[in-house]
Symmetry: C2
Subunit: 329 residues, 2 copies
């Protein structure tokens, strides 16, 4: 298996991306193609590999799409950008999958324009695994598209259910629709219409409406929503977790608990906590619905997160659910 990794995408690119690739090839049996500035990558890679011979090659791409750029325009204009070149390698059969921690919009646009959507899919969706006390809840769409119609949400439900079953290995996954109440009459027009369609869909295990709190509580295996709502919810969670850690530190400092625990134990506890909550620690999020395997990592990914995302990518390709999605539609 050969994975094209966008070496130039992400806040810590290329250094941490390259380190992550080196970790991954030692952990998983796969080949990696690092896509980006050949010279920079070669220098860093030589340092990292320390004379050892790893199954990592380099594909040159001299442009980079930055966070502020309009995704589709940038993909069309910067034909030699790392994400475009990496995605084309998948289209041309040179690689089995593409992974990027760069601009999510650019990765989605590249996948849509170069790999194209699967026949029958109106909008691809990013499926983000959310850690819960009892495992994982898959939230999709978490930001690929922001003006979804009910039929797009249905397609997300079908794709998410297949991903949960065949990649996350959850048997007969419970699929719910994100809404503002449990009752089927609740919600905006989009949610009410989608509910009726989901109710009559026999191919997934539809369990009704999910409320916001059900996501981090792990009540369902798959929760479907519009990409606007999914993106807001994910980022809200990031901010809230940080705020809670800060307030807790204040409380423990004020009540003497911090002294009892000691700096080291507090740091360790919070670090472990953050890891368990951190989406990027749980690897990448697949972009479901395009003709090829594309995985998106958090922009802040470090080497460990990239390594973990490469593991996710490998499982994803191994699952062959891409063929199942095509068959299901």
């Amino acid at each position: 298996m050969k994975i094209a990794v966008d070496a130039m995408g992400g806040d810590k690119a290329p250094a941490e991306i390259i380190k992550g690739a080196v970790l991954a090839v030692q952990k998983y049996s796969c080949e990696i193609v690092l896509v980006g500035d050949k010279e920079k990558i070669r220098n860093m890679l030589d340092k990292e590999s320390d004379g050892k011979n790893f199954p990592i090659t380099i594909k040159h791409a001299d442009e980079v799409i930055n966070m502020g750029e309009h995704p589709a325009d940038a993909v069309r204009c910067k034909k030699n950008s790392s994400i475009v070149v990496a995605t084309k390698m998948v289209r041309d059969g040179e690689c089995d999958a593409v992974l990027s921690a760069g601009s999510t919009g650019a990765a989605v646009a590249a996948a849509q324009l170069i790999l194209k959507r699967i026949h029958g899919i109106g909008r691809p969706a990013i499926a983000t695994p959310i850690p819960t006390p009892c495992g994982t809840t898959l939230l999709l769409d978490s930001g690929a598209n922001v003006d979804s119609r009910p039929e797009h949400l249905i397609q997300s439900g079908i794709m998410g259910s297949l991903y949960a079953e065949h990649v996350l290995k959850i048997k007969n996954p419970l699929v719910a629709l994100l809404n503002i109440g449990e009752e089927e009459t609740k919600g905006n027009e989009q949610a009410k219409e989608t509910y009726q369609l989901l109710k009559n869909l026999s191919t997934i295990n539809f369990a009704g409406n999910a409320e916001g709190r059900d996501i981090p509580r792990g009540k369902f295996d798959v929760v479907i929503c519009d990409g606007f709502v999914g993106n807001v919810v994910l980022k809200f969670g990031e901010g809230l977790a940080l705020t809670i850690m800060e307030l807790l530190t204040e409380e423990l400092t004020a009540n003497g608990g911090a002294k009892l625990l000691g700096k080291e134990l507090i740091a360790k506890t919070f670090m472990n906590m953050s890891k368990r909550l951190d989406v990027s620690e749980n690897g990448g999020a697949p972009l479901l619905g395009v003709n090829g395997y594309c995985v998106i990592s958090h922009g802040s990914s470090d080497a460990k997160a990239i390594c973990s995302a490469i593991g996710v990518t490998k499982n994803y390709v191994d699952s062959k659910i891409f063929e199942r999605i095509k068959a299901a539609l």
Copy 2:
């Protein structure tokens, strides 16, 4: 000042509502009318007041609107329900404000049908104060209406800004639009259109787009969104906070920190934490945009939360911002 309190609304009604009213009249200078089942309220009130003479009266209402009922239908049919009777007391000038911890939908429907919307307001909005490390961020709409158009979001911005300035006492409040990115080209059609309207509005201090994480980080004073998104985000926060507490307890138990702290200190720390995060501890959320003062409390409110919400209601009425909103439109 006289406040009509829906004694029958909320998970812990009527007991905790009555206790909360007794606490409030001792803390704030106001009169309270408890609306609901006269006999039940009288018995409980006698027990609570312990022979003392508090400025609390009872207004009989023999019906209750339950959580599962269709809000507008229930308000129309149950003319003698506690929320309908309480809201009518405001309309008829017998009380200055109404407070309910019952069905949010019913309280909103009663306010819309009985008090009517302020001229120029298309949709009222619930403004929920979110605790942040540096104070409070006002999120609106957090669930009154779920299919908002850009003009409704603009109206929310104007009302939220006035509330932040005159009730929360924030000078020149920073108002932001909830979106999936900072750039003005980001977001769904609703967000993009709303951005352009806000940019050209001179009456508020528009600070651009807010991302989900900016809410709990306290980057802005007022964040505007659709009621669907606001409701999902608030409930997601509730669930996530609970999950974080559980995971932290697990971590501390596993690494020995729990033993060092002792059960009592852990309980105290988490309780204080929860209080600082808990929306209901920060009192009620005003329903802005109707012809009268209406405040909504969390369904799980206990006596302390009700007392705090009565304090919020009092400040809200004192501010006279209702007149300011009418003047601003």
